[in-house]
Subunit: 209 residues, 2 copies
DNA sequence: CCTCCGTTAACCGTATCGGTTAATACCATT
DNA sequence: AATGGTATTAACCGATACGGTTAACGGAGG
């Protein structure tokens, strides 16, 4: 990959990244044409090939960038430090939303790339994704104090359920293709508040009044 | 569309449908080649063109079939008659699972087709989807008796949350591409049970013991 | 006027597309 | 064995789209 790419104005860099995320998110690797990416980025195909010597290189660069900025944003948001469950979910989602504001298609791209089957890229994707996802769920659960929650609740199930609900909410927007981040934030806030009144002992007591 | 298609053995018909669902679910309409569908269905491209005169016809046929069998399965499962909320969700998901067992990619196809932008098909998709989704949520909520649920709960939010969670759970499987329907059913059952203990007044009382 | 450099139009060889055609393979009837 | 019909396909067609290259354009600095 041509280092001159980093010399580009930030804005141009982002529009190229976003064009790549967008096109690769919609179709298979093989069926995502470089010409389409160049068009979406507002540059010529030749120039795109000037910055990235071939399609594979661009694809893997996008993948690495995607992983890098996600981890960056996550740590910067402090999502990993938070001890309070809802607090850390809040920070995490905050980070995700900030990301999606800058790179609307980064989520869809990440999922597609992760499950991409094309032998030209799949191996390297799988190899490099070590840190990228999860692991945190289990550790997060251990630290929870059951006393904070309503009696008898299955905390693991609760966590899984919350995760699915936020993913489901996210996907509703992603699929629709309308990236209204503000609306997403509102929805997610509502979810968090709802969970607090339902799952937290304290929340329950207040709601019953 | 050639009526001889219905003369085919059920098994062959399904394999063609599934091939279509699969390929069209993975890529845009324009970038989903007929040859690939034929290959996946185990027939020649020429024969596929014998049953469906052109790509557009096959696509719209798949869409109609998708809508038809979904409604069929839903009504057959009795999901629409049920008055109890969890009961109707149970029946509904049961129907969905049965569908996905027969047509693993029908879900992904439906979503993609619904949001397809290609002018060659998008208009007709939008036109014909009248009954296909929603409407039921609002009516279902009106019939709920707040006395059955824990006091102070926002029923609309609860419903939305449950919907998102099941969608999120579903998508996790769909995205992964491994259609382990039995595992999905188990997960969904667990969700339902969890919700009952958390949201239902009766469930809460039992759990607190 | 020259040179450098970001940028692109135009090009190249090849692969793939939607769709057709003419010929096969198959099978029941005579 | 010859016949006729039907299911199925290999081979083909013109058009287009692909990844990647090249030669040239245009503007800024000297």
């Amino acid at each position: 990959m041509n280092p001159k790419f980093y010399g580009l104005p930030q804005e141009k860099q982002q529009s190229i990244l976003n064009a790549g995320f967008h096109v690769f998110a919609q179709n298979t690797y093989k069926k995502s044409p470089m010409s389409e990416i160049a068009l979406a980025a507002g540059i010529s195909k030749a120039l795109l090939f000037h910055y990235f010597h071939n399609k594979k290189e661009l694809y893997l660069f996008l993948w690495d960038t995607c992983a890098r900025i996600t981890v960056e944003e996550m740590t910067r948001s402090g999502a990993y430090e938070q001890t309070d469950l809802f607090g850390s979910m809040d920070h995490g989602m905050q980070a995700k939303l900030r990301l999606m504001r800058q790179y609307p298609d980064i989520g869809s791209f990440a999922v597609r790339a992760f499950y991409e089957k094309d032998p030209e890229v799949s191996a390297e994707i799988q190899k490099s994704m070590g840190q990228y996802l999860q692991v945190h769920a289990a550790k997060k659960l251990e630290k929870l104090d059951p006393e904070d929650f309503i009696p008898g609740i299955d905390l693991q199930m609760m966590y899984k359920e919350m995760y699915w609900a936020s993913e489901g909410c996210l996907w509703e927007y992603i699929q629709r293709g309308i990236m209204d981040i503000d609306a997403m934030e509102k929805d997610f806030r509502a979810l968090l508040d709802f969970w607090k009144t339902v799952y937290l002992r304290k929340g329950r007591e207040e709601a019953e009044k």
